[in-house]
Amino acid sequence: MDPLHQFHIKPLISVIVADLDVSFSNSALSMITSVIIIYALMMLGMRRRSMVPGRWQSLAEIFYEFITKMVDDNAGRAARPFFPFIFTLFMFILVGNLLGMLPWAFTFTSHIVVTFAMAIFVFTMATLLALIKHGFRFFTFFLPHGVPLWLAPLLVPIEIVSYLSRPISLSVRLFANMMAGHTMLKVFAGFTVMMGAGLGALGYAAGIVPVIINIALIGFEIMVATLQAYVFAILTCLYIRDALELH
């Protein structure tokens, strides 16, 4: 009955590496399943390499062209080398989110550890890229063009804080969306069970209402799952653009 129960990580196979407990858990199972699904989708879809694609090949090509366009539009053509990374990121989050919509499945993106690790990786990558590409000129990023110099003491700290908060907002957005959605589904599902337990037959009859709400919520959650993967990927594109162009 605990709506947070679904977020518990349960070790399935105990693995200890360098004194660290890295047991193969339900979270790891979801991740590996996502990897297999994505790889299978791309490989089985492209198996025939048809000139005129079938359904599965079309799907693989649509993903490919969708991300290509996203990178080109939001990060610029110079960001092409990051295409495989952004593709992997988007597909991993998307399939992870959608996989979590299945009953009994574990949503690994509902853990801040996972989303923050991805966000801090994106942030670190973008910052390193900017530093390597622009050297110390990178720090002009914190003073926007055309701003009077006397405003600098005010603006530069604001810009720095906003820059440093990028990984936090990026990770919390995804994690919070996934966790809130799944919690809400569980809470509404719990209402039905509670009504049945408390009110008997009448309760089960009334329990249909939360079920109906849940049906709508599941549709909404599928949208959120897709949208959040898209947002994560597109923000990554924008951070890479900032790193490449410094405004």
Binding site: I9, V17, M42, D72, R80, H111, M179
Partner: protein
């Protein structure tokens, strides 16, 4: 590595070609390092109420995240994405080739059409010329025919006129005779005078020559028309 990272990708394809510039060996290295550092740092702390805040699960999540992400990255980067790219490029080049070929064929068709039109125009003008020439020839021959006809008709008209003239002359020549006959008959009936043929002929000839009143002094100008004068003389 940086130069490779930021190197401009070649722009052969319409929208792809991230290709070959990112060995990205530093991507997994960085991820794994960050993971293990964060995992070690967080592993020791105490647990909370929310499963998400339980530090004990941090290492396993980060470890498997790093593993699965890296595996996925390399499988996509190394195998799946180049495959999609090659298929798309193949299709693009095929389409480009087909478009070029279609353009060529269209140009060819246009040329053929133009040739056909030229030929048709030529044939039409030739036909028109032929019709015009035939018309002119026909007209000329018509004119010739008409002229010929004219000549023939004129000849016949002349012939007819000549015959008419001849008949007229014959008739005129016979008129004296008829008049003499009539006058002799009249003389015999009215006056009971018998006039022999020779005298009558002489008289008629005189009347025809001088008019009926030729012998009468003070009479008008002699009549020109011999038949009438002959009739008056008879009357």
């Amino acid at each position: 590595m940086v130069a490779q990272m930021t190197a401009k990708p070649d722009h052969r394809g319409p929208s792809r070609c991230y290709g070959r510039t990112v060995p990205a060996g530093w991507v997994p290295a960085l991820t794994l390092t960050l993971t293990l550092i964060a995992g070690r740092a967080l592993a020791g702390e105490g647990g909370g109420g929310l499963p998400q805040l339980d530090p004990a699960t941090v290492p396993t999540q980060l470890f498997w995240l790093a593993v699965s992400f890296l595996v996925l990255y390399y499988m996509l980067f190394g195998v799946a994405l180049p495959r999609v790219e090659s298929v798309l490029q193949e299709r693009d080049s095929r389409i480009a080739f087909d478009v070029v070929k279609a353009d060529e064929l269209r140009a060819e068709a246009d040329a053929v059409l133009a040739a056909a039109e030229r030929l048709r125009d030529q044939a039409r003008s030739q036909g028109q010329e032929l019709v015009a020439r035939t018309g002119r020839v026909g007209l000329a021959s018509n004119r010739l025919l008409m002229a010929e006809l004219d000549v023939q008709l004129m000849a016949r008209i002349k012939d007819a006129e000549a015959r008419i003239l001849a008949a007229k002359l014959t008739a005129l020549a016979q008129i004296d005779e008829v008049a003499a006959e009539a006058a002799r008959e009249l003389a015999a009936r009215l006056a009971g005078v018998r006039v022999d043929d020779a005298t009558m002929a002489a008289l008629v000839g005189q009347v025809a020559r001088d008019g009926f009143l030729g012998r009468v002094p003070g009479a008008g100008a002699p009549q020109r028309s011999r038949p009438r004068s002959a009739a008056e003389a008879a009357g």
